[in-house]
């Protein structure tokens, strides 16, 4: 796929493909238009200034950023392992580490209970030996979000590592670089777009996380009530408030996604001088 060139030449899609693409855009746009159409604009301000929104939004942002950071910290080495090291049972490990993507989040939350809850397989020792109980704390929110979000980063980064020509790595090694140095200075910059894309996916998933959070972390304003929980609970009594809260969350997410995409996630619009990015563009 030509990276740079497609932008300059303004490639034209064949009409059928264009038609399908437009339908796809409409498919994504219509629900949001519906939401905007039903939004109680007159009541929006009083809802937003009514308190609680800021608390939930702040908690959502803090927790999702933590979850993204943890996903990157543990997910990149995991992806490296899965992409580069041939070990028995690799397929099994990969399936295991991405299982939480397909697991209904509520089940994920229950599973976390069984593992690290107060009476969980390991959690009971945390409680008995250290007096630590994880459920109903902000830590539980971050754990639940990381559990469901990390696979998005792992899969994205692993795919990029697999596509990457290993000879760049090997060349660096023959020139005396250590494994770690070569990874940091050659591999990591080359997969940076994929890493950013994976991190954004993981962040988006963490920000929208609901099921595992409410199951494992509970719902308490300021401690565990993130925006999706606040929206869901608001809907029980006041649909208008729920819509306003949703629009806030959508606006924040949209701003971040739109802002990041062109700046960081495309390979062709490098801010110049970064030759290593060409590696990704090569087939």
């Amino acid at each position: 796929m030509p990276g740079r060139r497609s932008r300059r030449d303004r490639e034209r899609l064949p009409v059928p493909a264009l038609a399908l693409a437009v339908i796809a855009i409409a498919f994504f746009a219509l629900p949001f238009i519906g939401l905007l159409w039903r939004a109680p604009w007159s009541a929006a301000w009083s809802t937003l200034s009514g308190g609680g929104v800021g608390t939930a939004l702040r908690l959502s942002i803090v927790c999702s950023l933590w979850a993204t950071a943890l996903s990157a910290l543990f997910g990149v080495p995991l992806a490296w392992l899965l992409a580069r090291v041939d070990f028995p049972g690799r397929g099994f490990v990969r399936a295991l580490c991405t299982l939480s993507m397909v697991l209904p989040p509520v089940v994920g939350g229950v599973a976390l209970f069984f593992a690290i809850g107060r009476r969980g397989l390991f959690g009971q020792y945390l409680d008995r030996w250290f007096g630590i109980t994880i459920p109903f704390t902000t830590t539980a929110v971050v754990i639940a979000q990381t559990f469901v979000a990390m696979p998005f980063l792992v899969l994205t980064v692993e795919a990029a590592l697999r596509q990457l020509d290993r000879r760049y790595d090997e060349a660096a090694r023959t020139l005396g670089a250590s494994r770690w140095y070569a990874f940091r200075r050659v591999t990591l910059p080359a997969i940076r777009p994929a890493l950013v894309a994976g991190a954004v996916l993981a962040w988006a998933r963490a920000l929208g996380e609901f099921g595992a959070t409410i199951t494992f972390a509970g719902n308490y304003p300021g401690t565990t009530q993130t925006m999706p929980l606040a929206i869901y609970i608001a809907r029980e009594s006041d649909q208008d408030k729920a819509i306003v809260l949703s629009l806030v969350l959508i606006a924040v997410s949209f701003a971040v996604l739109a802002g990041l995409r062109d700046r960081w996630m495309t390979t062709g619009t490098g801010t110049g001088g970064d030759g290593r990015r060409a590696v990704l563009v090569a087939p």
Partner: protein, 283 residues
Amino acid sequence: MRSRPKIAITFATLLAAATLGTAASASTTPDAIIAGEITVFAAASLTDSFTAIGEAFETEYPDADVTFNFAASSDLVSQINEGAPADVFASADRTNMDKLTDAAGNGDDPQTFATNSLAIIVEPGNPEGITGIESLADPDLIVVTCAPEVPIGAYSQQVFENAGVEVEPDSFEENVKGVVTKVAEGEADAGLVYTTDVIAAGDDAEGVDIPADINVVAEYPIAVTADAPNPDGASMFEAFVLSDAGQTVLADFGFGPPEAAPSDTTSTDSSAADSTVPETTEA
């Protein structure tokens, strides 16, 4: 399944008249066709009892096919008001039923068919030695209730108020099953649920009674929706729930009789009855 032949019409009607007596004659026309699909939207707390009633109803009317949608009453009422094809709505509180009948004019005159009260749910054996609402004020206990936006959450607040006890829950669950699960799994020490939930939990949990003078009586109203695809089947199902057969099943699952409903609702009932006299709007 969907389109069963509408046979034995008169037989079914005769049977209905014979078995249901007064309750049936109140709300069904003599030549009702009790066949086809009857879609019942019922509060989550009715899951077990209504499933049993549905089976009894299908035994009584073999041509009928009762399908249920169990969820929070607030979810159900918004689904119906957004056009979901429900025949019958059974709510866990009057507020959500009012959203159907008042705001949208979307149902007939609701009938109270059952009552429920609150109980404290604790782990089997009551390890924390909880004796009543006062015990829950202990800040070391992990207490969970439902969010005040959900009917049972509002009732819980009411009970705390009646008892004059300040309780700071660790989580506000979005539905009562969330409270049951967290206590049954040992993640929480105590929670407030419906009496029927303690019975449904079986050996997984234990109940501590709340005295009647500080307890709340929750009322369960049922109504046929205005746009019921199967109005005759819907009326007959409603009548069946109110009949002795339906009431026996509900009592088995721990529900109180409709007569236990607080007296202040009679005013609502009479005003609703008044309004049906001049304007019998048939959709």
